[in-house]
């Protein structure tokens, strides 16, 4: 019986992976070929014919090597994530910040929420909130075009508020703990209003844009994926 590991190693000599990764691939393919070979032998084929038929499992070793290289290289996972999440997300973030700047300079006056004594605690730029679905839709669209899953698509559209959401998730319990010994009702109200202004309201606007893209683009893209995947 041939040494299948040696044979596969020689034919995949161009495979450039981490040593352990490469050894794993070679061992896996060799084990597969060995089982195919044994099956042919059990069916009564002579060794030479069994080897010939086993090797016919791979017509082009160079092509196989290239395809394995593509899918076993970790860079590609990173590239996918960059294309499906980071790039669309950062563009959404940049667009939402740019829109906010424009609205602050040229838009109508903000809606100001204040406490009972008239102290302003939150400003809502309504014009900005109305434009945010566009930013969310852009992020979702780019992620969708890069083959992003529903989770990636919606995360890309919500990307600008995610850092604030994380900060609030961490800061709220800490703030409430501190506020427990101080004026806890003020801390709670302050956190709620800030979360509303920084996370919930813009998040909802971005989400609307992302959801619309997801709903309207999913059907044609799914059909296209069947043909192109």
């Amino acid at each position: 019986m041939p040494d299948w590991q040696k044979l596969v190693r020689r034919r995949l000599s161009g495979l450039v992976l981490e040593p352990a990764e490469r050894a794993g691939v070679i061992a896996e393919l060799a084990a597969h070929l060995e089982q195919v070979f044994e099956e042919w032998r059990e069916q009564g084929l002579a060794e030479e014919e069994a080897i010939r038929r086993t090797l016919s499992q791979v017509e082009d070793w160079q092509d196989l090597c290239r395809r394995i290289q593509t899918f076993r290289t970790k860079e590609n996972t990173m590239n996918d994530r960059v294309k499906q999440l980071w790039l669309p997300g950062l563009l959404t973030f940049a667009l939402s910040m740019g829109l906010q700047e424009l609205v602050q300079k040229f838009g109508p006056k903000p809606l100001i929420l204040s406490l009972g004594k008239g102290t302003p605690i939150l400003m809502f730029y309504i014009g900005w909130l109305l434009m945010l679905p566009l930013a969310g839709a852009l992020g979702a669209c780019l992620s969708k075009r890069a083959g992003g899953s529903v989770r990636m698509v919606l995360s890309s559209s919500l990307f600008p508020v995610l850092p604030f959401a994380v900060v609030f998730l961490i800061a709220t319990p800490i703030g409430l703990m501190i506020g427990n010994s101080l004026a806890h009702h003020i801390v709670t109200v302050a956190f709620f209003t800030m979360a509303l202004g920084w996370v919930l309201a813009p998040g909802a606007a971005l989400f609307v844009g992302g959801l619309l893209v997801q709903l309207f683009l999913s059907r044609p893209l799914d059909s296209r994926r069947i043909a192109n995947s």
Binding site: A31, S56, D63, T77, I226, A227, S229
Partner: protein, 110 residues
């Protein structure tokens, strides 16, 4: 002739479907698919492993080395929660596509 896109789509569906029944290594998977499709779908090593690695990269399946009863080491693949989620819409898409093609051919023959 069936195009490579269609072949890959059916291949992914076939792999996810057999792995839904339980973990398998590559050779078993190829045999199982061939048997269950009565030979209509056959995977050579060259077709199977790049697809498995691609699906593993997408985290639809996960491979791990296991030792069988006869002492042989085999890389077994199992469906991940993400793969299970992927299988549902994939099945639906293919059912819709085949349904549409069936209707189309019926109309063409009418």
């Amino acid at each position: 002739m069936i195009g490579s896109g269609i072949k890959r789509g059916t291949g992914e569906l076939a792999i996810l479907s057999v792995l839904e029944e339980g973990p398998l290594h590559g050779y078993e998977m190829a045999r199982r698919i061939e048997a269950q499709t009565k030979g209509a779908l056959r995977f050579t090593l060259a077709a199977l492993y790049p697809m498995l690695y691609r699906m593993e990269q997408h985290r639809w399946i996960r491979g791990s080395w296991e030792t069988s009863d006869n002492g042989r080491k085999r890389r077994c693949y199992r469906l991940t929660p993400s793969g299970k989620k992927k299988l549902v819409p994939l099945r639906k898409e293919w059912e819709e596509l085949f349904g549409a093609l069936k209707r189309l051919t019926k109309v063409a023959h009418a």
